[in-house]
């Protein structure tokens, strides 16, 4: 991590200097805010953590509960979310505190025993990501985001005890067009309301979202009419895979899933309960934790299960639902107005918890939205950029709902005798689905944000429209072995990774230096066009280069100036822009990611870590056009 750039500051480097003029939670409500976030779940907090880092943006986050969550609900953190956590700076903390899921096993009735292990598979295929798949209480993920907010320049905290009751949009107003009615939920102020005006309102307020209702949205879909129980327990058992993710299918009692949890003792169980009648609701059955335990014991038989403590439990019915649009602009008006109200997380898509996707997709929604909102609110981008949010994320959510439908059928299937290549069907489907459940199959379609695949062949391991797949490199200036992707912070900046052709040493006249000189000096081109006066040269588009040689074969002092820029108040050099292949460890990023060794290429990475475009080193017009389609001219 980089700090002290504007002078030495004692203490925790994660605690950024406070910006003046920001309201503290609990102070009297403001008349206006730039962004009002409804709901402090993973979607709301992930967005708030991004906005909180921008001193120019006044954000308010309202949460009907009276304090932060302590336990329960989601726990699955995909490798993709871990990659995102890295950009927020808390991946290491989560890795230390969480349980890592390394192997998944499958149990079914056997010929000699009522339950036998019929398959074991890697939970994350090799080479998928530098990050593990982990599980951690959703409450702790909240805490991590809350920490980022508390440490940010705006010191943002949620306003607990407040919810969005209703809102109205005046499409003709240029400033603060959304009038929001807030309602207090604390016992001493219950039912009191207040209004404020916002430039943007983001509904992260769950499946019963008032924000969604206010813009006329509805969740469409179906329910499976099948009750499931979920519980977090501390228990003693002789089931051998208690610390592995396991699918257990009994002969006659149905199925359950074992999900080990953080701390080495806690375990989550998903337990199949009863089928429901067509018009029956799960609440009608009046079932409780004891029913889940009793059913789990029957499924686990002959293994013993002694539950010592039920930490949390819930009984739910599987449903798959999706809204038509994630913002307030009807299809027919997209050309005429920009979104002012957007939805994220359960407010616009709900599904079964068993694939462990809910929290991840919700955070993915607002990681997609955050940089767009920041770009618009800081004047870097036109508000029309916000249309891309609903387009990109609804497609992702639709993919999830469809997956969830299919997966629920596979897991719930009574017969599992379809053994292809030695694996039972559920295990085979599980393996086939891993890229999806790892969060890595989302691929944004061709658009202003996602380039055409014309030059995809220059780097076959970086799929245009998919997340940037990090790989090991060595940083030239200090010979540090690291992950290239870890130089991407959640800071709303674009990255331009220049991959050098063979034998390019960064010297004047070579392709990299030629491109860098052009980027640095030509005012008609992206860096100058989109960076405002007084901003550092890398404030909007952060250019870095990767060379094919080992670090001892290159001369840092000979690198183009753009890769050694002077930044900050003191004009100090940023030494962290130039990288080499990690040849010593045999991990060559050019080989691993299929980069054309003769041609090299430029990989444009969006602020949310998705690959925006791949271009040849000489494709200056295409490079200019890409950013011109996204960012305003400011230079």
């Amino acid at each position: 991590m980089q700090y002290h750039v504007n002078g030495f500051k004692a203490g925790d480097p994660d605690l950024l200097e406070a910006a003046p003029g920001h309201r503290r939670a609990g102070e009297p409500l403001p008349e206006t805010v730039d962004v009002l976030i409804a709901g402090s779940g993973p979607a709301g907090l992930c967005l708030a953590a991004q906005l909180a880092r921008v001193p120019q943006i006044r954000t308010m986050l309202v949460e009907p509960k009276l304090g932060p969550m302590e336990k329960g609900q989601a726990d699955g953190i995909s490798v993709r979310s871990m990659e995102m956590f890295q950009a927020f700076g808390f991946a290491e903390k989560v890795m230390r505190e969480s349980v890592w899921i390394n192997e998944t096993t499958f149990w079914a009735p056997g010929t000699d025993a009522p339950l036998t292990r019929v398959a074991r598979v890697d939970d994350v295929p090799d080479g998928t990501s530098e990050m593990p798949h982990v599980l951690l209480n959703q409450a702790r993920v909240h805490d991590m985001f809350l920490d980022v907010m508390r440490h940010s320049p705006t010191r943002l905290e949620p306003d607990y005890g407040l919810k969005v009751l209703d809102l109205a949009i005046d499409p003709t107003a240029a400033e603060y067009p959304v009038t929001v009615t807030l309602e207090h939920t604390a016992p001493d102020r219950l039912g009191q309301t207040a209004t404020l005006r916002a430039n943007y309102v983001i509904g992260c307020d769950g499946a019963r979202s008032n924000v969604r209702s206010a813009i006329g949205g509805a969740l469409h879909g179906d329910a499976a009419h099948h009750a499931w129980g979920v519980m977090d327990v501390l228990a003693v058992t002789d089931f051998p895979d208690w610390r592995k993710k396991s699918f257990v299918r009994s002969q006659d009692e149905g199925i359950l899933m074992v999900l080990p949890r953080e701390g080495g003792h806690l375990v989550r169980l998903y337990v199949e309960l009863d089928r429901l009648g067509e018009d029956e609701r799960v609440a009608d059955r009046g079932m409780g934790a004891e029913d889940i335990i009793a059913k789990a014991k029957r499924i686990f038989h002959p293994f013993d299960l002694q539950v010592k403590d039920v930490v949390w439990w819930s009984i739910y019915e599987i449903g798959h639902r999706l809204t038509d649009k994630f913002d307030d602009v009807p299809e027919g008006q997209v050309a005429n107005r920009s979104p002012r109200v957007m939805l994220a997380g359960d407010a616009c898509h709900t599904h079964s918890p068993k694939a462990g996707q809910g929290m991840n997709v919700s955070m993915g929604d607002t990681f997609n939205l955050g940089w767009k909102l920041i770009s618009v609110l800081t004047g870097r981008a036109d508000p029309a950029l916000l249309h891309s949010y609903s387009g990109e994320r609804r497609a992702a959510a639709k993919g999830l709902v469809e997956f969830d439908h299919k997966w629920a059928r596979v897991v719930g299937a009574k017969a599992q005798d379809d053994l292809a290549d030695g694996l039972p069907r559920v295990a085979r489907e599980f393996v086939n689905n891993l890229p999806f459940t790892c969060g890595l199959t989302i691929q944004y379609e061709h658009s202003a944000l996602t380039g055409a695949t014309t030059h995809q062949h220059l780097a076959t391991g970086f799929d245009i429209g998919k997340r940037f797949h990090s790989a090991p490199v060595v940083r030239l200036a200090d010979a540090k072995p690291m992950q290239l992707g870890h130089c991407i912070d959640a800071d709303a900046r674009f990255r331009l990774f220049i991959f050098a052709p063979a034998n390019d040493t960064g010297s004047q006249g070579d392709a990299v230096a030629t491109l860098c000189d052009w980027l640095e000096h030509d005012a008609a081109l992206p860096l100058h066009r989109h960076t405002a006066a007084g901003e550092d040269i890398d404030a909007v588009i952060d250019t870095r280069a990767v060379f094919q040689q080992s670090f001892r074969e290159l001369d840092y002092a000979a690198m183009p100036k753009l890769l050694r820029p002077n930044v900050g108040k003191l004009g100090l050099c940023d030494y962290e822009k130039v990288f080499c292949s990690d040849l010593k460890r045999g991990e060559d990023i050019f080989e691993m990611r299929g980069i054309d060794r003769n041609a090299g290429c430029v990989v444009i990475v969006r602020p949310d870590q998705y690959v925006g475009h791949i271009l040849p080193l000489h494709a200056r017009d295409d490079l200019t056009a890409y950013f011109a389609g996204l960012l305003r001219v400011r230079g």
Copy 2:
């Protein structure tokens, strides 16, 4: 990390449950304490962090300064210290925040240029440790220990504004034999004194230690009569190795060292200044930061150095000094009384800062002392155990002082023309010294704590008396790839690592199960003898096993019960005691550490991570004798 063992607790798992009855810093002084620590430098805080975790021990830490340190002084953190930080739980945090030193370069006058890079070497040889060599402001290391203390059951905080003025020991008193006079240093109470009585006083109060004076100790040694300047700067330069550790020797202006620091911009320089006359003190010269800068510029010529901000600086004279004994018991009385007052860190050894050893050796002192004090104060060990502290650590400090003498001569040598195998002499010596500067050459001599080398051949990669060299393994219960050494917490427990012979699967009748059953059931033997009634079976000696097979070849359910113990209030299973070789990644701990594949062995690791003994699996008498020599019979 393991938590929730006694029931679910919401929030940060590092925040342990508070134990009742502990005084808070700033409250009226107690009449008695178990341990009084003088000084909150690295030695004092490392000790306090260990003691703070033990609810039965009442510890007080006094510090003359009025608040925590903010900057300056030491910054080098050896790989050995990083391994220790892992046991405290903050290695990941330090790795993220610090700068990693990966390469060291050497500059000298060249034939074509006034300065040319004459050598570059790896700063940490491959395979040395799983940890990097890093640099971080001493103040931040303090903060990490203070966090451990704040999160511990006793919530220990330093009492700032207090120092130990004097003390007296009554060797005839059984309880609280040390009467301590404390003096206030805050302006409003300046010079006021108070007394309290302590069972143990640990002088971590620096080179001018009052604790040392009070027990009649003195630092013996010499000074080099040579002034050096040190400064932490933010600067702009065209010197290419500004982010690498570099030794720069100019033709006529002397030498300097570049040490990149945390955050990507800060750099520490050690700059050779003037030789001093025999009776001259460095303060007599009246030199300041400008003098250091001016000299650095001359040495760096023709490279440019523009200092933008001097964050901290100091001018010092090299000295090498050592006390005769690190405790209050004269040699002749060792048989009759046990230490009550001990010294650590600069209070008993001082040396040049340039080898980056000071903070490391100081923390090493109290990591050696901490578990011994805890063992004595909790009744697990006889107070005579404390004699081993001075014996073990004075030898380590003596090695450092001797090294420092030699290294100062090498670095300071005018002529560097002694080129052996292509490396200049300073680079060659630097490489030869790396095991020492990494903190890995300390080897405690044969004693009650350190077994004879009779069975060293059973594991040639674990040197008896040296630190336990961690290696990769896979944990059986959850297939997690990890470092074996990372299951050692700073919790004053011994570890018994059982390495299984080939084909041993943990089944009944195999060697591992036979040993485990014996350890579990035979009351005459270590686990029962030294563990008190009501304590978990692993409370004093924590037994773990490593098998040669891949994790999919072993059955967790078939493991001996001692390796799957029921622990805590709820009797939950501890799933983290059984490991396998990481064959998939080709990292076989048996191969890497030279473990006898046919015989297997037992490696006893002390609470401070040093190898206490290596024994054959059947050597029950030797195993019993080792612990009988250290721990009291309690079972």
